[in-house]
């Protein structure tokens, strides 16, 4: 063994990102334990992303909270290592359609920005979570979302939270349909999401990222 060549610097000069957009229902029905658990879930996401050095460097996150008076709040994109999990408040209605349109625009704008900066990227993940049903015109947004997924522009996960989430409507946002979260397993869901970003960050050429199984948080039932 010759050993490592003396004085060699080994640092990462590459610029690559694995974008993640969270589209979170923060309507009035999320008040109380659900919104608190969502806040805690975002903190788990934050910790788990930062726990892995490659993911901390490559993960890039934008959080979109929708609710209020048909309001859609968008955070700036942040690298996982700089991510500060927001604590959105729960109130008002459920403008899912508007939020998804904003999310799809954010994703394409982010790609544009990364390309302009010479930064390569992996396919973005969009995760939509809702505990109710859309109160705005959501059908065309669902069609757009599914089309973006089919065109390989984004990986979409639609998650139904709690018994009142209208899974049939959420199903329309992805060809895979929506998945109902088991009880309030926000922590498990967000750890799974972090591990998915980890898998995408490290996916090598010719490989579709192998995402972890969802059974830690998904309800076994079909609805």
């Amino acid at each position: 063994m010759a050993g490592i060549i003396p004085d060699v610097s080994l640092i990462d000069n590459s610029d690559e990102r694995a974008p993640l957009v969270l589209v979170l229902d923060c309507s009035g029905s999320m008040q109380g334990p659900p919104i608190e658990m969502l806040h805690a879930g975002l903190k788990h996401l934050d910790e788990d992303l930062k726990a892995d050095p490659i993911t901390a460097t490559r993960g890039r996150i934008c959080v979109i909270a929708f609710g209020g008076d048909d309001e859609v709040g968008v955070t700036d994109w942040q690298d996982a290592m700089d991510f500060e999990p927001p604590e959105p408040e729960a109130s008002g209605r459920t403008p899912t359609g508007k939020a998804i349109r904003v999310a799809l625009e954010e994703i394409e704008a982010q790609k544009e920005e990364l390309r302009a900066a010479g930064v390569s990227y992996k396919r973005p993940i969009l995760m939509l979570m809702s505990d109710g049903e859309p109160t705005d015109e959501w059908e065309s947004a669902a069609v757009e979302c599914k089309a973006a997924e089919a065109a390989n522009k984004v990986t979409v996960f639609a998650i139904a939270i709690g018994p009142d989430a209208n899974k049939q409507k959420l199903d329309q946002f992805s060809a895979k349909g929506a998945v109902r979260m088991d009880g309030l397993k926000f922590k498990e869901l967000f750890i799974w999401l972090s591990r998915s970003v980890r898998a995408v960050s490290k996916a090598v050429k010719g490989e579709t990222a192998q995402l972890p199984a969802i059974d830690s948080w998904a309800s076994a039932g079909t609805n």
Binding site: P6, S9, I11, S14, R123, K205
Partner: protein
């Protein structure tokens, strides 16, 4: 010999953890004052890509070497170099097809990328399909580089086995002034070997390497490179296999 060539591949952390072999391979040969080198990186999605990377790198080097040994230096280094590189990759594809037939696997199971170089004191060229990286001349601002080419996403690249390989084959001429010092690498090594702007080598990496190689025997040089590429610090940079070949005209 007019050239000193050092090269090594190191298996990536992901492959160690999952028990998959190193899917990078390389080959090189010297004919008189001409250096011929190729690095191939097998596709993670292809089941026998380590075999493909080995067969492809050897085949391309063999084809070019055979031509040079016949004294047909001009067809390699002259005006028709692109045609000749097309011919060499075609021969490698034929080789891959026969490997596939013999082993009963699919042609695509042998998918790999390719980055190579022919260089002499009179000049040469870089040739490239897919990702990986080539740099000729390590002096800042002087380097000629061949960049990785991917699809929209960083994990989508182009392979020698692709139907559209001809349109993905890029040939970059090397002027004599740049052809005396060449590095070829797989995309696992590029993040720490290449500088941030992707315009050439990352000095804090390559300068100590060149210092070390200048007085190293062949064995010391190759294993020094291998141990460096295998260093645990690379695990936080990439999970992928890492290959680096450095060719220095004396």
């Amino acid at each position: 010999m007019p050239w000193k060539v050092f090269a090594a591949s190191a298996i990536g952390k992901n492959h160690i953890d999952t028990g998959i072999p190193c899917q990078d391979d390389f080959s090189y040969h010297l004919v008189g004052d001409v250096f011929v080198g190729v690095v191939c990186d097998g596709a993670g999605s292809a089941s026998h890509s380590e075999i493909g990377a080995k067969a492809c790198s050897r085949s391309v080097v063999d084809t070019i070497t055979a031509k040079l040994e016949k004294g047909e230096t001009d067809s390699v280094l002259g005006v028709c170099e692109r045609d000749f590189m097309v011919f060499s990759v075609e021969a490698a594809r034929a080789k891959l097809q026969s490997v596939a037939d013999e082993s009963g696997c699919d042609f695509k199971d042998l998918s790999c990328t390719l980055v190579g170089c022919v260089a002499s004191p009179k000049g040469g060229c870089l040739f490239h399909i897919g990702d990986g990286f080539a740099v000729a001349d390590f002096d800042e601002g002087e380097s000629v580089v061949s960049l990785p080419e991917n699809g929209e996403y960083a994990n989508e690249t182009y392979f020698v086995t692709a139907a559209e390989w001809q349109s993905k084959l890029r040939v970059t001429p090397l002027p004599a002034a740049q052809a005396g010092c060449v590095a070829l690498m797989s995309d696992g090594a590029a993040p720490f070997v290449i500088n941030k702007g992707r315009t050439g080598m990352y000095k804090p990496f390559i300068e100590p390497v060149l210092r070390y190689l200048s007085s190293a025997t062949q064995d010391e040089g190759d294993s020094g490179l291998k141990d460096t590429l295998s260093d645990e610090r690379t695990y936080t940079i990439t999970g992928d296999d890492k290959t680096l070949m450095v060719a220095l005209l004396q």
